[in-house]
Symmetry: C2
Subunit: 194 residues, 2 copies
């Protein structure tokens, strides 16, 4: 396969599209889109989200120590994009995008109602990385769309309909088809399994 050297850059994908909800000491809720977000430990369950240190959401999270990671479904692509390119210092993004919010169980920032997966987190530590801050949060509670479990014990991917972000390419995509079952498909390659 012929390849092109891109040099050191941040072209990497696929990534999740998430909206992070946080709340300032003034009680104002902010919503910020983030794709540098993921699981980093199971003991205890922990998420990491990277923020530019100038972000209002980062400031809120430093003050309160709490945030919610809300998975973005394809139907909210336009709203998610807006919440990534404008600051909550300049406009009320929840109001502009008509995003409905509801109370979380264990943290003060709200859940995004139309998100099919909400992850409530409490900050455990942070790391300074140049202009960015990697914030680690222990997962306290996860809420998932009930409908996804009607016929699939682990959840039906089509019900979640997650918006996939392609960093570097700068595009949002939907999921296509299921390719394989994890922890299962590879066994066929083991000696004696063919």
């Amino acid at each position: 396969m012929k390849k092109r050297a891109l040099g050191p850059c941040v072209t990497f994908f696929p990534q999740p599209t998430t909206m992070i909800t946080s709340i300032g000491l003034d009680g104002d809720v902010n919503i910020m889109t983030a794709s540098w977000a993921g699981i980093v430990s199971k003991t205890p369950p922990t998420m990491a989200v990277s923020f530019n240190h100038n972000r209002l959401s980062y400031n809120n999270i430093r003050q309160t120590g709490e945030f919610v990671v809300n998975l973005v479904p394809t139907g909210l692509a336009t709203e998610a994009d807006l919440c990534g390119i404008r600051s909550g210092r300049d406009l009320d993004k929840a109001q502009l995008c008509q995003l409905k919010l509801e109370a979380a169980q264990q943290v003060s920032p709200p859940l995004l109602t139309y998100s099919p997966l909400n992850v409530e987190c409490r900050v455990t530590q942070e790391l300074e990385l140049g202009e960015y801050r990697l914030v680690l949060g222990e997962i306290l509670q996860i809420h998932a769309a009930e409908q996804a479990f009607d016929e699939h014990p682990n959840g039906d991917a089509r019900c979640f309909d997650p918006l996939v972000y392609l960093g570097g390419i700068r595009e949002y995509w939907s999921l296509g088809e299921k390719v394989a079952d994890a922890y299962q498909a590879g066994k066929i390659l083991l000696p004696g399994q063919a």
Copy 2:
């Protein structure tokens, strides 16, 4: 939207499917599948990958301070799954899966030839998180499939054909359709743009 509380767990997606290449002090190359991988800073370009501390790949990376993150295309789903469920201590996964390797430019672990995106990293720091270790690596060089740039200046997502992992659901999926352009689609919601 009716929701179900899952409790604190690691159900979160979409995630990238990557194969991490590393090399031990004995010169043996190991390949490990990881989905807890992502960009965490642009200053300098940095990736983070989380490993169970018992993993051979983590041991290799501690010894050499270098690793490569190889994006998995849908065509390598079976091989990627195998490289996630078996240890390099028990078998030579590159050989079993007939995975071709080639030299990297700036680090000693090799690139996975059939991966359309290879990210060469040098370790800058690590974080202990229970049984896991979050390893941060500065991105030194990225190699991308040349063909992806024939008609798309930022790269054609269909050429990369990334395998999307759904953690919790435990399934691998392909990409479907482009939903929107990032840094662009949301502008229509701004006052005066409708």
